[in-house]
């Protein structure tokens, strides 16, 4: 990996150094919440990427905002970098500590409070698990709509820091759209209250939105007030077999012209083979190159009729070859699993992942170009495509052949990266649609952001974090 802080240059902190720092930290953090044992260091020192050498100085679990502030001031004084860490499901290396940083984990700040039924908001500590918030909303007869396969482990602050998207973006938007307000501790240890949960607040720059997608580089999110909404009514799920990629956007248009959708996802037959090998039932017997998963609300009986009509139309056009519809919630869940289990089913193959996007209208041409380059470069590799294609967001996964060494495989993938990202640049797309930049995409950011753009971001970071202790080296060199 190009952006791997090279282990040759960074020596691991010595045991003695670790002991010494732990001692200092225990002056203001509970003794058992400062850990330097190997298991904690390795476990909490990295995210889902598992590509980097993990090398933290210590892992710290603060239990209060005051402790967080003390920790930041300590880090400033000692010039030690901090890596904020959430549920460690990130896919960009944002929560990786490979340069002797202190990892700040929010596992023990995980309470919800102050539910407000009128404002439909609830205050979350940073370590609240995404699913915990979803379940809480459900208990109140409400709904937290940001959802994805890792929701059982990812944390709210991690979601905000990556501005996570997921499977319902087409209707509900990204994480940033659900943050009513938040409290953050900046790189100087100062606590600031952003937006105070107001719906309307035009008093200058909305700093809240700088923190959405900041990947821990501006400061630590220590509290977030999240918005909840009306739950969707009676969701039906369709899985359609599609003849070719270019038909997918025609299908999207046909459906969106007639009815609002809550999700529009796609995956390839190679993906279907993986999930069905893990015990899921095929949607239908015939194999088709691609599948789309469509979800909509049954507001009235008419909706089911409309969905059928659009389906018939898509069949007539030859875009769709077969299709099924859920007849119960369990079936809806099982159909969703065909799409949602893909990430985990790919994981054993140490896949090379791309998370790219363009405007929805440009998807067909973009797909064709990428597909041509990739299949030419990897004639023998298994490519698994899936993504939130209704948002113009594609996840390309290349599976490592069993008999190939990890290094060789990634080297080969790197070679094509450049070509893929050049296409992204031509289409004015994004090299990271929803996973963030972190370490994984850092050296490619110029394909999406101009030099001037990056310089401004660096300037903003310097304002919030003058000592450069907040996750340095992530997003850009700093």
């Amino acid at each position: 990996m190009p952006s791997t802080p090279n282990s040759e240059f960074i020596t691991a902190p010595s045991d003695q150094r670790r002991q010494q720092v732990a001692e200092q930290l225990r002056a203001f953090i509970d003794a058992d919440k400062v850990r330097i044992d190997e298991e904690s260091l390795q476990g909490h020192g990295c995210d889902w990427t598992k590509l980097y050498k993990v090398n933290p100085l210590a892992i710290v679990f603060p239990k209060s905002v005051e402790q967080v502030q003390q920790l930041v001031r300590f880090a400033c004084d000692e010039k030690i970098a901090l890596v904020p860490s959430g549920g460690r499901t990130g896919l960009s290396g944002g929560a990786v500590a490979s340069q002797g940083e202190i990892v700040v984990s929010f596992d023990y700040m995980n309470q919800m409070s102050d539910f407000n039924a009128v404002d439909r908001t609830v205050v979350c500590q940073p370590g609240v698990i995404t699913q915990q918030l979803q379940d809480f909303a459900e208990e109140q007869g409400l709904y937290y709509p940001v959802d994805f396969a890792s929701a059982g482990s990812s944390q709210i602050a991690g979601n905000i820091a990556t501005n996570a998207g997921g499977i319902k973006v087409i209707k509900y938007g990204m994480t940033r759209d659900w943050v009513a307000g938040m409290k953050v501790v900046t790189g100087t240890g100062e606590l600031i209250d952003l937006n105070k949960n107001l719906l309307k607040n035009n008093t200058g720059y909305d700093l809240r939105h700088l923190f959405a997608g900041s990947e821990g580089t501006l400061g630590l999110i220590v509290e977030a007030t999240m918005r909840l909404t009306q739950p969707p009514k009676d969701l039906s799920v369709l899985v359609l077999g599609v003849s070719e990629m270019s038909a997918i956007m025609e299908i999207l248009r046909a459906f969106q012209n007639r009815m609002p959708l809550t999700a529009f996802e796609f995956f390839s037959e190679s993906g279907c083979k993986l999930t069905t090998a893990h015990g899921l039932q095929r949607p239908f017997e015939s194999e088709t190159p691609f599948y789309v998963l469509i979800e909509y609300e049954n507001q009235s009986e008419q909706d089911a009729e409309t969905a059928m009509e659009v389906f018939e139309y898509c069949m007539e056009q030859g875009w769709v070859l077969d299709g099924v519809i859920s007849q119960s919630e369990s079936q809806a869940e099982n159909l969703w699993a065909l799409r949602e289990n893909l990430g985990e089913c790919c994981a054993p193959f140490t896949p090379y992942k791309n998370d790219i996007s363009v405007t929805t209208s440009q998807v067909p041409g973009f797909l064709e170009d990428i597909d041509a380059v990739v299949s030419q470069a990897y004639p023998d590799f298994t490519l698994v495509w899936w993504g939130h294609i209704g948002d113009g967001n594609l996840h390309l996964n290349i599976l490592k052949p069993e008999d190939m060494a990890k290094e060789e495989f990634f080297e080969k993938c790197q070679a094509v990266n450049k070509q893929v990202f050049e296409i992204v640049e031509n289409y004015q797309g994004s090299i990271s649609a929803e996973h963030g930049v972190g370490l994984v995409k850092r050296d490619y950011i110029q394909y999406t952001r101009s030099d001037a753009d990056v310089a401004l971001m660096q300037g903003i970071k310097a304002v919030f974090d003058p000592d450069n202790i907040m996750n340095p080296g992530k997003i850009f060199n700093s």
Binding site: D234, E312, D322, Q327, S328, E329
Partner: protein, 249 residues
């Protein structure tokens, strides 16, 4: 060979039902309704027998309100050839259902009746057995495997401590257990085709059956809330609490 399958419209398995505030019943207004999972398995089994060439016709019957047509349409999308709705707004109980089904059997003379072992709303597990008695047909309940051969059906039953296989002369009644099969999804092209399949409607009156409830519900209340758990400091405290508070050791 003709197969009759019974399908029931029930509150979706995933819906958490709550009692009405006056305690007269559970509140299912606006709840998502689906085909009873055991009935779905019954339909799947019947359709598989048809696909194997064992059966020639599959007839799906449902009893209930007009909306039960949806579940019959589902059964037809899965492969049933036609449907019969016994329409009534009366609350149906197992005996009434069994009597209606018996009347349908008299008209249709099926060789095999396949139905769920129970529906997940009332959890009665009675209708199949009552129908056996009323129709004087042999019954194979809790089926995990069904094999039809020469005028008989071998039904492997899930019983306490193992499996039992019974051989029944046709016509017979089979009630399905969870492991009998994994039902397919309803395909959209088949849903379209199912719209053109015949669906007849009759009523308990026309069948000459009195379905008035025989059992009266006195009260519905939620189970007692479980009190929150506590964390113990160490094994010694755990043992102490198990001994002196829970009194289980």
């Amino acid at each position: 060979m003709k197969i009759l399958v019974a399908v029931k419209r029930v509150v979706d398995y995933n819906v958490k039902v709550r009692p009405k505030s006056d305690g007269t019943d559970v509140d299912i207004a606006n709840a998502k309704m689906s085909i009873n999972p055991f009935c779905e398995i019954a339909v799947e089994e019947a359709v598989r027998l048809k696909e194997k060439g064992v059966a020639t016709e599959v007839v799906a019957v449902s009893l209930g309100t007009k909306q039960s047509q949806e579940q019959i349409r589902t059964a037809m999308a899965l492969g049933a050839d036609r449907g019969i709705l016994v329409e009534t707004d009366t609350e149906l109980q197992p005996l009434g259902v069994a009597k209606c089904l018996n009347a349908i059997i008299a008209k249709e003379s099926p060789d095999l009746v396949i139905m769920g072992k129970q529906s997940i709303d009332g959890d009665n597990n009675q209708t199949g057995q009552m129908l056996g008695a009323l129709s004087n047909m042999p019954q194979g309940t809790f089926a995990s495997e069904v094999a039809v051969e020469d005028g008989t059906v071998n039904v492997t039953r899930e019983i306490d401590g193992g499996l039992q296989t019974v051989k029944l002369n046709l016509p017979a009644i089979v009630t399905t257990d969870l492991r009998l099969n994994e039902p397919r999804y309803a395909s959209l092209p088949n849903i379209m085709k199912a719209k053109k399949k015949p669906l007849d409607t009759t009523t308990p009156d026309e069948l000459g059956v009195d379905v008035a409830p025989r059992v009266q519900t006195l009260k519905v209340e939620p189970p007692a809330e479980r009190s929150a758990g506590i964390k113990v400091a160490d094994v010694a405290e755990l043992v102490e609490k198990l001994k002196n508070e829970a009194k289980v050791i």
